[in-house]
């Protein structure tokens, strides 16, 4: 028997209680199609331990993404609330926040509360329409706080514009967590008839917390951007370790596929500097290996860089902090400039594409305004102009494409990857919806690498739920474990999120659903490799 849940209102964000506003239960969740429909129901995430509850803020939904310590005194609470308000003023100031002021104000002012965006949000729908995950929930709260505490319109006008939110510490703490329940996929913004971007509002909230209050997930800040600026990569790989990995790649290529390739590193004046997400070297080395095989086979003039900042495409600042974002983007471009290459090409990493190619365009001045482009048009040129000898029969298994949000909706790179797949995968099938209407993998905006307390469970069972449903529906007619299937995810973070949902639901073991990048499929179709490139070994 299910009990009717209390309806959450906007003003509940200010509730002075440690109890979570909601706890998502197994009954709330969006149901799965076969074969997962028959599996027993389980709660989407475990409750935090009593010790954790005592130490960290979790009064939003019982989940902690930030490991935000509870203030020790009333005074500390008040100071933090003041700090938040100060940050909010800066967010709304043209001088302090010139980098995003215009789209932020547009998003705050233009919403007509038609809720068209709600059903576009995979987190809201997957969670069984939890009010707090509605794209407009945090935005409307912020709007009302601004009307009441920043614009100070007087009692009557404040009441008329919805001045029912009390700005206290629980409100601030819940907003901090809420900013990390949206993966910034911006599907809601795409859906909005007036262009109000609730994704951007979420990002700007994250920025306020980071740039003013020093609050950000450790995975994004301490072991993310700070580590990248210190050692060169968010994975902690040093330049020496990277060079060792390149040697390992060369040996692997020779041992497995019978080709001895000298992978160019720090080759001055090359046409192309390719930069990969360094997570590829740690978890999916076959991806940079495939790039190397393809580029060499096509006879390109290319290089990798072993310079600090030159072997890491990620820029987690994209998701939460303009300053860290700008610092990393400048460092990355500086490497290419010094190497005197003709252009930088981003490998299979979605946010690195959007970050360095698009967003950074307006902070790169003069000689730093360096040519940067995606690997996709380059790869498409190689394949469609027959620069590679390919046999699509080598990829004769059902394959589908997960569209990373950063490529499609956020950048307008929609067709090259499809033209490639249609040429090399005879059984290619689209997920529905796809292209600019795609669903996020659930790992966007840093979620894929955030594993604080019970956040990983939340991600796998709520944030990534829609993607898993899509995958199952796409392969519904070929679930037989005797038939291998491939989910092509040409982005490192998406790949990580998809790996986790396939693994936690045993979909490789039980139904042979595998995942990987795009270049692996291209390499797998190459006729002059002795063995198939894809090894179908789970990792």
């Amino acid at each position: 028997m299910t009990t009717e849940k209390k309806k959450i209102r906007l003003k509940d964000i200010s509730n002075r209680t440690d109890e979570p506003l909601i706890t998502v239960t197994a009954d709330d969740l969006m149901p799965f199609p076969p074969p997962l429909d028959q599996r027993g129901k389980k709660a989407p995430y475990s409750p935090l331990s009593e010790d954790q509850k005592k130490s960290y803020e979790c009064s939003l939904d019982g989940v902690s993404a930030l490991a935000l310590p509870k203030p020790k005194s009333k005074q500390e609470e008040e100071k933090l609330v003041e700090c938040f308000l100060g940050g909010l003023r800066k967010l709304l100031s043209q001088n302090d926040n010139w980098l995003f002021w215009q789209p932020l104000i547009q998003s705050l002012e233009s919403c007509v509360r038609c809720q068209t965006c709600s059903d576009a949000c995979p987190v809201y729908v997957s969670s069984g329409n939890q009010e707090i995950y509605r794209p407009t929930y945090k935005s409307e709260i912020l709007r009302r706080i601004i009307n009441k505490y920043i614009k100070k319109r007087g009692k009557i006008l404040s009441k008329l514009t919805g001045g029912d939110i009390e700005l206290n510490w629980p409100t601030v703490a819940r907003l901090a967590e809420l900013a990390y329940r949206c993966s910034l996929c911006r599907r809601c913004a795409q859906r909005c008839p007036l262009g109000s971007d609730n994704g951007l509002i979420g990002r700007e909230l994250r920025k306020l917390f980071s740039q003013e209050m020093g609050i950000a997930p450790k995975e994004l800040h301490d072991s993310g951007t700070v580590q990248q600026l210190r050692v060169g990569a968010s994975t902690g790989i040093s330049s020496a370790a990277f060079q060792g990995m390149v040697e390992f790649m060369e040996d692997e290529i020779e041992e497995k596929w019978g080709k001895r390739i000298k992978i160019p590193v720090d080759k001055e004046g090359a046409d192309i500097l390719i930069i990969h997400n360094s997570g590829e070297f740690m978890s999916w080395i076959e991806n940079p290996v495939a790039f190397a095989i393809i580029f060499e086979a096509a006879g390109l003039s290319w290089t990798l860089s072993s310079e600090i900042y030159g072997y890491e495409a990620t820029n987690y600042g994209t998701w939460y902090d303009d300053v860290q974002f700008a610092r990393i983007a400048l460092k990355q471009v500086e490497v290419a400039r010094k190497l005197k290459v003709k252009k930088m090409v981003m490998g299979e990493c979605g946010h690195a594409h959007k970050g360095l190619i698009v967003i950074a365009d307006r902070i790169l001045m003069d000689e730093m305004n360096f040519p940067r482009e995606s690997f996709l048009p380059l790869l498409e040129d190689l394949i469609l102009h027959d620069r590679l000898k390919l046999d699509p029969r080598k990829n004769n298994f059902p394959a589908t494409l997960h569209d990373p949000c950063n490529f499609v909706r956020l950048m307008g790179i929609v067709e090259p990857q499809r033209r490639i797949l249609k040429k090399i995968c005879p059984q290619f099938r689209e997920m529905e919806p796809h292209g600019v209407d795609n669903y996020c993998c659930g790992g966007g905006s840093g979620f894929a690498i955030m594993n604080s307390m019970n956040f990983k469970e939340w991600r796998e069972n709520i944030s990534s739920r829609m993607k898993l449903k899509q995958i199952l529906e796409t392969f519904s007619d070929v679930l037989d474990p005797g038939m291998r299937k491939y989910v092509c995810a040409p982005c490192s973070n998406c790949k990580g999120a998809i790996r986790d949902i396939l693994a936690s639901n045993d979909l490789w073991e039980r139904h042979s659903i595998y995942y990987g990048g795009l270049v692996e499929l291209v390499a797998n179709a190459m006729v002059d490799l002795k063995k198939p490139f894809i090894e179908w070994e789970w990792h």
């Binding site: 859906r191 209050m213 020093g214 800040h221």
Partner: protein, 291 residues
């Protein structure tokens, strides 16, 4: 009273022009922001060396916007249930605006006694359409729990006032002027040609109230969503993927902002230094944990 109505009416027109100009100026002078567009389909980034490629023409973009505004295409595709009343309302409103424009022109040129009954049909039909659409939207807003919870009270006041304006228009035209287009045009002619000042200072209640309501709308219009739609949504969200070419206008404007101080206070930001310095100089300070 009459003098006040006069002052409000002409004042509202002046306010509308001034406020619109200020809004446009504010939008144009807003700081240039980082690229943050959304794409409905393929973009120049699908091409190698995209920075050298041409973008869609202004006419293409403008045409797309006109179609969106006329047919509310985004609502049609994304939220059909909401589109029905919204479309009725907007169609009525567009027709009503056109009708008023016609009314002012027709009052100024040609004989008003020979005016066709079509003018009355047009005005009445537009008013009813706008009223029907508006009323449906209010009912939907008040009865749908999902919509109601997020709609601040001030917006209901706006709708009520709009409906009253429409009712006021019907009363003025059909009761005060007895649905007579020549009588209405004569009144409008007096307004636009500054004739019969005595008549203006002692207006009849029904047209005076309608003029008063309309004046309030003129004051509101520069702050409405329609204005934001063009200057922000289209110009800055959908059409902003113009690359920052070396030595170009975008770079010049950004450089100015890079010289301004970064004011954020978290430990990893060197508050007070210029943006250019903050972005290019490193400080090894982790920042997590409230400061």
């Amino acid at each position: 009273m009459g003098a006040m109505i006069l002052f409000i009416f002409y004042g509202s027109i002046l306010f509308f022009i001034l406020a619109t100009a200020l809004r446009v100026r504010k939008c144009i002078r807003a700081p240039i922001h980082l690229h943050w567009e959304l794409y409905k389909g393929s973009s120049i980034y699908e091409l190698t060396e995209w920075w050298a490629k041409t973008h869609g023409t202004f006419v293409e973009k403008l045409w797309s916007m006109v179609l969106d505004l006329l047919f509310l295409r985004e609502f049609y595709h994304r939220n059909r249930r909401f589109w029905y009343p919204l479309y009725v309302f907007h169609t009525g409103l567009y027709l009503l605006i056109l009708w008023h424009a016609w009314l002012f022109i027709r009052a100024g040129v040609g004989g008003i006694e020979t005016v066709s009954i079509f003018g009355w049909v047009w005005g009445t039909f537009s008013t009813l359409l706008t009223f029907l659409g508006g009323l449906s939207i209010v009912i939907m807003r008040m009865t749908d729990e999902e919509l109601k919870a997020y709609y601040p009270p001030i917006h209901y006041l706006k709708w009520i006032f709009l409906l009253l304006t429409l009712v006021g228009g019907i009363i003025a035209v059909d009761i005060h002027f007895h649905s007579s287009m020549p009588a209405l045009l004569k009144y409008v002619r007096e307004q636009v040609t500054f004739q019969n000042f005595e008549h203006k200072l002692h207006p009849a209640l029904a047209p005076a109230l309608h003029v008063l309501f309309a004046s309030v709308w003129l004051v509101y219009l520069p702050f409405s969503h329609v204005f934001q739609l063009f200057f922000r949504y289209y110009h800055y969200l959908r059409w902003d993927d113009v690359p920052n070419a070396r030595g170009g206008e975008i770079g010049r404007r950004i450089k100015d902002y890079l010289e301004r101080p970064a004011t954020w206070s978290a430990p990893h930001i060197q508050s007070g230094k210029r943006w250019r310095e903050v972005a290019s100089e490193l400080q090894q300070t982790p920042a997590t944990g409230p400061k």
